[in-house]
């Protein structure tokens, strides 16, 4: 399995997580702030995989945490907080993606030089890739990014997006085909 690009800063201790979640349920703002600190990177990764832009992902993360805060009384401390939050953030990102009728592709201001490739080709690939990603449905984009970029398994993606594992596989297949098709002429393929 591919290693995740953004691992959590430290593996959360399940015991203390439970305590934090319980304290947050009792109304402790400090406990909830600590949960935000521990989980915001992973939440961003999930939201970013689903959202078309970085800004949408930020909005989804904020909305997801807000929903989680408002639903704390429904959280069962015997389950992992991260998994529960992940589903809420994924739902928030999917809702946001559906609400966005016109999506703006991300402005690519940062240039990463690749010593093994022609920068012009690299820029073209990126431009085409952004355009190709925009043609995918939010679940397709989420699956290809979560699987190929973040290294999530199909089972994990299924749980996160609340779809059967087979559906996650199908989304991945369709997304890869769509991306390859869009990039085919760049590679001189028929």
């Amino acid at each position: 399995m591919t290693s995740r690009s953004v691992p959590p800063p430290e593996a959360p201790d399940p015991g203390s997580e439970r305590e934090l979640a319980r304290a947050a349920q009792r109304g402790s703002q400090e406990a909830f702030a600590e949960l935000v600190r521990r989980h915001q990177r992973r939440a961003y990764t999930i939201a970013r995989a689903i959202s078309a832009t970085h800004e949408d992902a930020e909005d989804a993360v904020q909305e997801g945490f807000l929903h989680a805060y408002q639903a704390l009384d429904r959280f069962r401390p015997d389950q992992p907080f991260g998994a529960w939050l992940g589903r809420i953030v994924a739902n928030a990102a999917l809702d946001l993606a559906r609400r966005r009728k016109v999506r703006q592709t991300e402005a690519l201001t940062e240039h990463h030089a690749n010593p093994f490739r022609d920068p012009a080709q690299q820029d073209e690939l990126r431009r085409r890739l952004v355009a190709a990603l925009d043609t995918l449905t939010p679940p397709q984009r989420a699956v290809v990014v979560l699987h190929d970029v973040e290294g999530y398994s199909h089972a994990e993606i299924g749980k996160l997006l609340d779809v059967p594992e087979g559906t996650a596989r199908a989304h991945l297949h369709h997304a890869r085909v769509a991306l390859r098709k869009t990039l085919a002429d760049l590679r001189g393929e028929p």
Binding site: A33, Q40, E58, F65, A71, R126, V149, R180, E189
Partner: protein, 127 residues
């Protein structure tokens, strides 16, 4: 223009995957995460407070204990009422036996469950 096309072992396109990783990389700066954390907490503070615990939730938690305590209290209260009534009846009966010419109202008190008509009739018939 064409670029090298490499397909990974799982059907993953290496060029695409590499570029996707760049596109989707989370911001590395700590300052960014501090700012996002502050934004989230501000939204939480400015938004609704956590849904207050439903008013019936504590009742649900304590329902079993409450039901047992309520049942016990009801039993105790019932026993107390029964005992007090019994005491009243006994003392009224004793008073009637000690003073046979006492007003028939005392007998009526003893026979508290009798209809008023019976008490009135007894009152009339008593010499």
């Amino acid at each position: 223009m064409s670029i090298e096309h490499r397909i990974g072992p799982e059907g993953r396109d290496d060029d695409v995957t590499r570029e996707l990783r760049r596109l989707y990389a989370a911001p590395p700066e700590d300052a960014y995460w501090l700012a996002l954390e502050a934004r989230i907490l501000a939204a939480v503070a400015g938004g609704a407070a956590p849904a207050p615990e439903a008013w019936w939730a504590p009742l649900e938690r304590w329902s079993r204990v409450g039901a047992i305590v309520a049942a016990a209290a009801l039993c105790l209260a019932g026993a107390g009422v029964w005992r007090a009534r019994e005491m009243r009846e006994v003392s009224a009966l004793q008073a009637a036996m000690l003073h046979p010419n006492a007003p028939s109202a005392q007998l009526a008190a003893v026979a508290g469950r009798e209809p008023d008509n019976d008490a009135v009739l007894r009152d009339v018939l008593t010499p």
